[in-house]
């Protein structure tokens, strides 16, 4: 296997998810190259080399400065073809998903996404993909090369192997249409909020709370339990709650002892941020809500009925 791992960077560092995938790739085969694409990213080759890459290919150009997908597709397509990589792996992210899918179209290459494991079986690469709301585990393969894969975020931890990589600069040629989308403002954190990562108890709210003011019942319950308040992307995007409170793929990863989800459907992108919680209680009025698939206690009911009552009972019980 000639494997290429796309390593994303942020604020002068390779991102953890990419390094985790790199470590896994190195474990599966020896000829693993990593590719860094950006502006002023050459210095990142060294830490990438320490995490399992035998070679680091660096595309350094102002056209790659903003984290936008299409210029990256142009560079990767040329690279994969000229170097003959048969496998290209990505750690899932907003950027990587668009890069991987664009590359799949450009090269007519198969893309399997949301993988939680990779193995080589009888010389063939096989991916493990939980599908249909994680209700079935699917072994997926590819019918041609190159094989492209997006690994679910948080799947592999980076491992420092201590090696050093051979660093090569690669050409950067970008098509006109790929330059048309431009970044006007980047990675702006909307507002500060309390830290939720260390909380033992988290009460999280989603769109089922109905309106921004609906969060008050969640805040009351969190207060009664001495916990923190979290939110889904849907309500953060809608401006109901600050980004700092968001749990999930593009938010925080939390693992409290108790996670109470109120009016949250339970999308996989939310699940990846809270599945490590000790006990998961979900309150949702839809008996088919996907979150019930991975809750320890599923409460089918209206949050406006259940949550305030629960708060009162908790207060009585805890004598506060």
């Amino acid at each position: 296997m000639a494997t290429l791992v796309y390593v994303e960077d942020h604020e002068g560092e390779p991102v953890k998810g990419s390094l985790g995938v790199l470590g896994k790739a190195a474990q599966l085969g020896d000829d693993v190259a990593a590719v860094l694409l950006g502006s002023g990213v050459e210095g990142l080759a060294e830490p990438v080399g320490r995490h399992g890459a035998a070679r680091v290919l660096v595309g350094d150009d102002s056209a790659l400065e903003a984290p936008l997908p299409q210029p990256r597709v142009d560079v990767l397509a040329k690279l994969v073809e000229s170097e003959g990589f048969d496998t290209v792996l990505f750690g899932a992210s907003v950027l990587a998903a668009d890069v991987a899918a664009g590359l799949a179209a450009r090269l007519d290459a198969g893309l399997n996404w949301d993988l939680v494991d990779l193995e080589v079986r009888d010389g063939e690469l096989v991916g493990k993909r939980p599908a249909l709301g994680d209700s079935v585990l699917v072994d997926v393969g590819w019918t041609g090369e190159p094989r492209l894969a997006l690994i679910r975020s948080g799947t592999f931890e980076p491992v420092e192997s201590g090696g050093s990589a051979e660093v090569t600069k690669i050409p950067v040629e970008v098509q006109d249409f790929s330059r048309q989308a431009v970044m006007v403002e980047q990675a702006h954190e909307e507002s500060e909020g309390p830290s939720i990562e260390d909380a033992d108890v988290i009460v999280a709210g989603g769109r089922g709370l109905g309106k921004p003011e609906g969060f008050s019942i969640v805040e009351d319950l969190a207060k009664a339990l001495g916990g923190a308040v979290a939110a889904t992307r849907a309500v953060v995007d809608a401006g109901w709650y600050p980004y700092a409170s968001q749990v999930g793929q593009t938010g925080k990863t939390v693992s409290p002892k108790l996670y109470i989800a109120c009016g949250i459907s339970g999308a996989i992108q939310h699940k990846v941020g809270m599945q490590g919680s000790g006990t998961i209680v979900a309150i949702n009025k839809d008996p088919n809500a996907p979150i019930f698939e991975y809750s320890d206690l599923a409460v089918v009911g209206d949050v406006n009925e259940v949550v305030p009552k629960l708060t009162e009972l908790v207060k009585e019980k805890r004598g506060s």
Binding site: V140, V184, H188, L258, A267, S295, V299, L313
Partner: protein, 260 residues
């Protein structure tokens, strides 16, 4: 402005979702419904058309014959016209094959704006737009939490792992919208009655200038090898809030596990 919106039919939320153990394909014989995420895409498209005061919204769907019901729902909500890409040989298409067919259908229309939903509720890919955009050579912006149009450009605010980006792209372009971008309108009675009279076109593979090798399993580059049960999550309990007793049961549950 001419806006094209890509929509999908997925199994209805209440229908059992399963992969066929023989074909490994999603069992699409169960009741279907318009992908919820795509109602936000339709709403975004309608708002753009309304803001510019002219043009049309065209709904494009690839799927089996019975998915025509979901296209009709898109028309009932407010799309002006529908295109259904339906062909026996399209079954089992993966990203490569699906994006190829949709790109061909899109090229026939040359819309100024193409809108996608956040994700298909069955495949959870959240990737198709980038593949289609690459095939038609248009700029793409995904995860749009807001979408504004001015001076022949779209301006999108979107969330990534690090906060919010603001991205601009000139028309024509492809935008995938998040499920928080708007509150989708419901079809009105008038909309439902009028849907049947709106223009609907069905396109086969040959209408798209594609052949059987481009579609279905032949045109796909991925495959399913085996199915298994996911790791067990251990015991789980379910309670219904009958007569308002749920809160008490939750407290009992938490107390018994020393979580209070």
């Amino acid at each position: 402005m001419k806006v094209l919106v890509c929509v999908k039919e997925v199994p209805d939320a209440s229908a059992p979702k399963r992969l066929d153990p023989q074909t490994f394909r999603l069992d699409r014989s169960v009741a279907g419904a318009l992908n919820d995420f795509d109602t936000h895409a339709i709403e975004a498209a309608l708002q753009v058309k309304e803001a510019t005061g002219e043009g049309e919204v065209v709904a494009l769907l690839m799927g089996p014959e019975k998915a025509a019901d979901s296209l009709r729902k898109a028309l009932a909500i407010g799309a002006d016209r529908a295109i259904h890409v339906a062909d026996e040989s399209l079954g089992g298409s993966d990203l490569v094959a699906t994006s190829k067919a949709l790109a061909k259908a899109l090229e026939r229309e040359s819309p100024e704006l193409v809108v996608f939903g956040q994700q298909a509720g069955d495949s959870d890919g959240a990737v198709l737009w980038a593949a289609v955009a690459d095939r038609v050579g248009l700029p793409v912006v995904s995860q749009a939490a807001s979408l504004e149009l001015a001076d022949g450009k779209v301006r999108v605010k979107r969330q990534t792992e690090y906060g919010y980006d603001v991205i601009e792209a000139p028309l024509p372009c492809v935008v995938a919208v998040s499920d928080a971008i708007n509150e989708p309108r419901y079809p009105s009675l008038k909309g439902i009655m009028g849907a049947k009279k709106k223009p609907q076109e069905t396109l086969s593979l040959s209408d798209l200038g594609l052949s059987a090798e481009d579609a279905g399993e032949a045109g796909s580059r991925t495959r399913v090898l085996a199915l298994a049960d996911p790791p067990s999550r251990g015991e789980s309990e379910r309670i219904e809030d009958d007569g308002g007793t749920a809160a008490e049961k939750v407290v009992e549950y938490l107390s018994s596990r020393k979580l209070l």
